[in-house]
C-alpha cells in the first residue's frame, strides 16, 4: 500500500529539474499574461464587430476569446511542452550514454511512466492556467458549458499523447540530428493527421458538442498514449529482459478492445481492419529485423505447461515470436473482416494488402539474416523494404493501366489498382506471397518454440 503512493523517482527528478529550468519558469510566468492580452484583444475585436443590441441579448462574445485561448493553449500544451520534453529526453540520452538508470531497480516502464507523469503535470499546469480564461469566455456567453470542460480535457490528452509518440523517437538509437528532424516531422504530421480540427469542429458554436465524438476522440488519444507508453518501455528495455512482452500485451488488449468497433458498421469494420493490418505490418517489420534469439531471462520464465507455453510464446521477446504475434493480429483482423464483409472484392483487396505488408519485411529480414548483416544494416533494410513495396505496387499498377506490358503486372499484386478482370489470377498471386510468408514464419516458429523452455 505504501508503494502505491510513493512518487516515481524519475517523475520527482524531472519535476526538480523543471523547477530549476529557466525556460519553464519564465514560460509559466508569462503564459497567463499572454493569455490575458490575447483574450482582451479578442474581446475588444468581438465588441467592435457586434452591434450593442446583440451584445445585450444576442449570442454573446465568448466564441472569439474561447478560440483564441484554445489556440494559444494548444500551441503551448500540445506542441511546445511535448517538444521541449522530447528534446530534453534526447539530450539526456546523449549525455548519459551509460544508461545508469538500468543498473537500478527501475524498470523501463517506471522510467517512461515517470517522464510521462512529469510532463502530464506540466501540461496540467498549463491547461489549469488557461482554465480561468475558458470560464471567462463562457461567462461572456455563446459557449456551451461542456466545451469549457471538454477542451481542457482534449488539450491535456492530446498533449500527453503527442509527447508519448515523440518520446518513442527519443528512445530509439541514432544521431541527435536525425532524432531532432524526425521529431519535428512527427509534430508536423501529427498536427495534420491527428484531427485536432475534429475536436475543435465538433465543439464549434454552430454545432453544439456531441459528447460521443469528444469521448471517442479522447479514447483514441488514450489508446495512443497507452500504446506508445508501452512501445517506449519496450525500446528502452535492456537486452537481457523480456522487454517486448508488456508491450505486446498492451497491443493485444487494445486490439481486442477496439475490435468492438468492427461490429458498429461496415465502414468502421473496414477502417478498424486496415488500421490493425497496418500496425501489424509495422510490428512485423520491427520483428523481422530484431535479434533472432529469445533472451535467456524470457526462456527462464517460460511456463512448464505446454499449452500455457504455447499461449505465451507469441508475446515473448524475439524475432520469431514477434512475427507470429503480428500474423496473429492480421489473422484475427482478417477473419473478423471476412465474416462482416460479404463482398469478395473487398476481401481480395485486404488479401493483397496483407500479402504485400507481410511479404517484403519477411523477405528482407530473411535475406539480411542469411547474409549475417543484421542488426548493423537495419537502417538500410527499411529503405529496401519501402523500395520493394513501391516496386511491387507501381509495376502492377502501371500494368493495370496498360502503361507497360501486362505480363509483369500480372505476376505481381497491386492493392492500388483494385481488382482486375481476372480476380483468380490476383488471388493466386496474393496466395503465393501469403503462403511464402506463412511457411517462413511457421517453420521458424516451430523451431523457436522448441527452444522456448526453461534452461536445465
Amino acid at each position: 500500500m505504501k508503494n502505491i503512493f510513493s512518487i516515481n523517482p524519475v517523475a520527482l527528478r524531472e519535476l526538480r529539474q523543471l523547477v530549476r529550468s529557466k525556460i519553464i519558469t519564465m514560460s509559466l510566468a508569462i503564459f497567463p499574461g499572454i493569455l490575458f492580452v490575447f483574450t482582451m484583444l479578442a474581446v475588444s475585436t468581438a465588441m467592435r464587430d457586434k452591434p450593442p443590441e446583440e451584445l445585450a441579448f444576442g449570442d454573446g462574445l465568448g466564441n472569439g476569446p474561447f478560440t483564441m485561448v484554445s489556440v494559444i493553449a494548444f500551441i503551448v500544451a500540445c506542441l511546445g511542452i511535448p517538444f521541449y520534453a522530447t528534446m530534453k529526453a534526447i539530450m539526456e540520452t546523449k549525455r548519459d550514454a551509460t544508461g545508469l538508470e538500468f543498473t537500478t531497480a527501475l524498470t523501463p516502464a517506471n522510467i517512461i511512466g515517470g517522464r510521462l507523469a512529469a510532463t502530464a503535470i506540466l501540461i496540467g499546469a498549463t491547461v489549469a492556467t488557461a482554465m480561468p480564461f475558458f470560464i471567462f469566455a463562457y461567462l461572456l456567453r455563446g459557449i456551451p458549458l461542456e466545451r469549457v470542460f471538454l477542451m481542457p480535457f482534449c488539450l491535456f490528452t492530446y498533449g500527453l499523447s503527442t509527447f508519448a509518440i515523440a518520446l518513442s523517437v527519443a528512445c530509439r538509437q541514432g544521431a541527435v540530428a536525425f532524432k531532432v528532424i524526425t521529431t519535428v516531422l512527427l509534430f508536423l504530421l501529427l498536427l495534420i493527421f491527428t484531427n485536432i480540427p475534429i475536436i475543435a469542429g465538433s465543439m464549434s458554436s454552430d454545432s453544439p458538442a456531441p459528447l460521443t465524438i469528444a469521448v471517442a476522440v479522447g479514447l483514441v488519444l488514450v489508446a495512443i498514449l497507452l500504446f506508445f507508453r508501452a512501445y517506449c518501455a519496450s525500446l528502452l528495455s535492456p537486452p537481457h529482459v523480456d522487454g517486448e512482452r508488456p508491450f505486446r500485451r498492451v497491443v493485444f488488449a487494445l486490439f481486442l478492445l477496439s475490435s468492438t468497433l468492427a461490429f458498429f458498421g461496415l465502414d468502421a469494420c473496414n477502417a478498424w481492419c486496415i488500421t490493425w493490418v497496418s500496425i501489424a505490418g509495422v510490428l512485423l517489420i520491427q520483428s523481422a529485423l530484431s535479434p533472432r534469439e529469445i533472451p535467456r531471462a524470457a526462456r527462464g520464465s517460460a511456463p512448464r505447461n505446454f499449452f500455457l507455453r504455447l499461449f505465451s510464446f507469441p508475446f515473448t521477446t524475439g524475432a520469431v515470436p514477434g512475427m507470429l504475434f503480428a500474423f496473429l493480429i492480421i489473422a484475427i483482423a482478417g477473419g473478423i473482416f471476412s465474416l462482416r464483409v460479404t463482398d469478395s472484392d473487398e476481401i481480395l483487396i485486404l488479401c493483397s494488402v496483407v500479402a504485400e505488408v507481410t511479404f517484403a519485411p519477411i523477405l528482407v529480414g530473411a535475406i539480411l539474416r542469411r547474409k549475417k548483416a543484421l542488426p548493423r544494416t537495419y537502417r538500410f533494410a527499411g529503405w529496401i523494404m519501402i523500395a520493394l513495396l513501391c516496386l511491387v505496387s507501381v509495376i502492377s499498377f502501371m500494368a493495370e493501366v496498360r502503361a507497360i506490358s501486362s505480363g509483369a503486372g500480372e505476376m505481381l499484386p497491386c492493392n492500388f489498382a483494385g481488382i482486375s478482370e481476372h480476380p483468380i489470377e490476383h488471388f493466386l498471386n496474393y496466395g503465393i506471397l501469403l503462403l511464402f510468408s506463412v511457411v517462413i514464419v511457421a517453420v521458424s516458429s516451430i523451431s523457436a518454440f522448441r527452444k522456448y523452455r526453461k534452461p536445465e
Binding site: K2, S6, P9, V10, L12, R13, R16, Q17, R20, S21, R95, D96, A97, T98, G99, L100, E101, F102, T103, T104, A105, L106, P238, P239, H240, V241, P295, R296, A297, G300, P375, R376, P455
Partner: protein, 304 residues
C-alpha cells in the same frame, strides 16, 4: 560475496570479439585490478557485470547465482561506477544521490540514512547543495562513487576511476578504495595508471583483445632504486653487478636501478651487501611499476 566470471564471450558486429572466453573470480575484501590496452574488452566486461550488456555466451555468478537469470540480483549486489562523470546544471549532489537512492527502492529513513552515510564516507557533506556542474573533477568522481555505494552493494565495479584526476584526488580515491575493501566489499577496478593499481590491488587480471593474459604478479623479481653519496659513476654500476643478489642493474636518472628477487629478505640482503662493500645509499626504495613490467611483458607479443 564471491563473483565468478565464467567463459564470458561478447561478439559485436562483423564478428569482432570484444570479450573472448574470459574467466576469473574475486571475493569480498579483494581489490582486483583489471588491466588492458584500449579496446581490450574491460569496459564491455564491466558493462555485462552491471547488466548493461548481455554476453553471447558464458555467465556471471554472484554467490553461485547467475545474474543473467536474475538481473535484479546484480542490481542489488553491484554498484557500478562508469568512466563518465555526472555533470548537470539543474541537479544538486543531494538530488542526484536521492534519485538513485529512490531508484534502488530506498524510501524514508532508510534513504536519509543511506544518503548521510555515503556523503559522509565520500566527504560530500559540505557539497550536497551544489549543482553537479559546479564541482571539480575529483568531487564529481566522489559523487559517482557515492552513487555506486548508495544501496550498500557488496560488489563495486569501477571503470577508470582515476582518469583525469589530479594527484591529490588520486590519493584520496585510493584511500577510499582501501577503506571499502577493509569494509568487506569485493572491488573490480580498471585503470590505465598501473602504479596506482599496484598500490591498491590485491591481485590483477590482464586482458588483451578480450582474452585473459595473466593473473597476479607472475614476475618474482623487484626493482630497487638507489642513490649514493659517492660520485663514482661507471665503477659503481660494475660493483653493483658484482653482487650476487643483483640480477640486473642500470643507471637511472641521477641514481641506479637494481633488479633483485622479490620480497623483504632479498632487499635486506642487498642493503647488507652494500654496507659491507662500503657503499652507503642515501636513497633506497622499492620501485613501483612491477605491474607495468608484467603488463608490458605479457601484452608485447599481442600488440606487435
Amino acid at each position: 560475496m564471491k563473483v565468478e566470471i565464467l567463459n564470458l564471450t561478447r561478439i559485436f558486429q562483423r564478428g569482432f570479439k570484444a570479450v573472448d572466453d574470459l574467466s576469473f573470480s574475486f571475493s569480498s575484501g579483494e581489490v582486483v585490478g583489471f588491466v588492458g590496452p584500449n579496446g581490450a574488452g574491460k569496459t564491455t566486461t564491466m558493462r555485462i557485470l552491471a547488466t548493461l550488456d548481455i554476453p553471447d555466451s558464458g555467465d556471471i555468478l554472484l554467490d553461485g547465482k547467475s545474474i543473467l537469470d536474475d538481473p535484479a540480483l546484480a542490481h542489488r549486489a553491484i554498484g557500478f561506477m562508469p568512466d563518465e562523470l555526472p555533470d548537470r546544471t539543474d541537479t544538486t549532489v543531494e538530488e542526484y544521490l536521492d534519485f538513485f537512492g529512490r531508484a534502488y527502492g530506498l524510501r524514508g529513513k532508510a534513504l536519509a540514512d543511506a544518503l548521510a552515510s555515503v556523503e559522509d564516507f565520500t566527504g560530500l557533506v559540505s557539497f550536497r547543495d551544489k549543482t553537479l556542474h559546479e564541482l571539480s573533477k575529483g568531487m564529481k568522481q566522489r559523487v559517482s562513487l557515492a552513487r555506486a555505494l548508495v544501496h550498500d552493494p557488496q560488489v563495486i565495479v569501477m571503470d577508470e576511476p582515476a582518469n583525469g584526476l589530479d594527484p591529490r584526488a588520486r590519493i584520496e580515491l585510493r584511500e577510499l578504495v582501501k577503506a571499502l575493501a577493509e569494509n568487506g566489499k569485493a572491488i573490480l577496478i580498471s585503470s590505465h595508471i598501473l602504479s596506482e593499481l599496484e598500490e591498491m590491488c590485491t591481485t590483477s587480471v590482464i586482458i588483451e583483445r578480450g582474452r585473459r593474459l595473466s593473473t597476479d604478479f607472475e614476475d618474482d623479481t623487484a626493482w630497487i632504486r638507489l642513490r649514493f653519496a659517492q660520485k663514482e659513476g661507471e665503477d659503481f654500476l660494475a660493483r653493483l653487478l658484482e653482487m650476487p643478489s643483483v640480477k640486473e642493474a642500470e643507471a637511472a636518472g641521477n641514481g641506479f636501478r637494481a633488479r633483485i628477487a622479490s620480497g623483504d629478505e632479498a632487499a635486506a640482503e642487498l642493503a647488507k651487501g652494500l654496507f659491507s662493500r662500503g657503499l652507503v645509499p642515501i636513497h633506497f626504495a622499492s620501485e613501483a611499476g612491477r605491474l607495468e613490467d608484467v603488463f608490458m611483458h605479457v601484452t608485447k607479443g599481442a600488440l606487435a
